[in-house]
Symmetry: C2
Amino acid sequence: MTRQSTAARPAQERPRGRPRDGAVDEAILAATRSILEESGSGGFSIGEVVARTGVSTATIYRRWPSASDLVMEGIRSLVPEAVDIDSGSLASDLDLFLGHMAGSLLSMKGLYAADLQRRDVALEMRREIVATFVAPRERLLMAILERARARGELAALPAFETCWDYVIGPLHHRLLIRGAGFSAAAREQALQIALAALQLLAPPQVTDEP
Amino acid sequence: MTRQSTAARPAQERPRGRPRDGAVDEAILAATRSILEESGSGGFSIGEVVARTGVSTATIYRRWPSASDLVMEGIRSLVPEAVDIDSGSLASDLDLFLGHMAGSLLSMKGLYAADLQRRDVALEMRREIVATFVAPRERLLMAILERARARGELAALPAFETCWDYVIGPLHHRLLIRGAGFSAAAREQALQIALAALQLLAPPQVTDEP
DNA sequence: ACTTTTCGATAATATATATTTTCGATAATA
DNA sequence: TATTATCGAAAATATATATTATCGAAAAGT
């Protein structure tokens, strides 16, 4: 169970006692989100949520069975929705993709940078990030590349993982490791280089042997 | 103080009692290194060192004043020596640089991937990694680029931070985030793309505004 | 009014870890 | 042999955190 519910009965029947304050749920979740955004799950603790909200520990445990359940729901509510990109050309698709990824990475900075690669972070947590963030965006980029291939903008469909390295790698490094912003000029530069890399990657010369 | 020494007197004068077993120092440091390589400082604990070496906590604290001092020395002894690269052409310099960086990143996997970007990791620790690993290699790449510029292989000297994003970003992503290896084919591909990126980056169109 | 459930405050319990200390055994010197 | 410093084992202490439980006040329904 991830979230504790007051009532399993129909919504119209109001439960007996004092009703829960919905604002409290939101405050707890908002604090969780901002902690995760800033420092990832390493910065999270129930005490930190208490300090940021003024809520008591009992109030938190009445709603979530454990700290990690709260973190998990925080991740789900922090990860931005995936978008659908199909603008007609590889260059503009890729530009939109870079813009979307930059915004997403920045909005979940601590989470992505700190948690995704650590063994000591609960496997379940990394799975959640991969399932809700990474995987959908991989599918998005793959679809963009396939359409470009169909249009003849790419000679062949390059090995996907490698594309991801060259499209997301520099962005990840710029935004999350160096902590630089993503100006219009930087975005244009990233686009040109990504396009050049994709041309060099098609047809695929390399298959992965890890 | 980072390391506790038995004697401040000349080496020929042997101290009174039972001498320290040098192998014990090495075993502690080796365990520390392998923990840092695997999981970064997040995976480190005195208890883990005890478990891996059979040494007692007292023995560790007799040599290092605190756990973090031991970690710090572990970092210093884990980071590989910087090399000097000057082979006469941008392409072969860059190829050697990529090879060197790939080896270095892999040999300090957990450390670089997990620790460098986390706020909750002691600032001192990140400073140590930057000072001993990142900064010397940045200087190395900058020197390579300057010589290429002097030879006329680059039209201008591009903004350095941006070069670093496009040269190291994909490598970092491939090796540390995806966990893939660095085959000869992947290295050749990385070289071609890095060269293309550098040409697109010169002259610098973008200055950094973080 | 009476009951039920939430609320914040606070204490109690448990676990993980760092750090310190004590102990008896060991390996050196004097 | 007497002294000194090291060794591993183990216990003691301290801190941070998660989790549970208790309390009285508050907000609903009956």
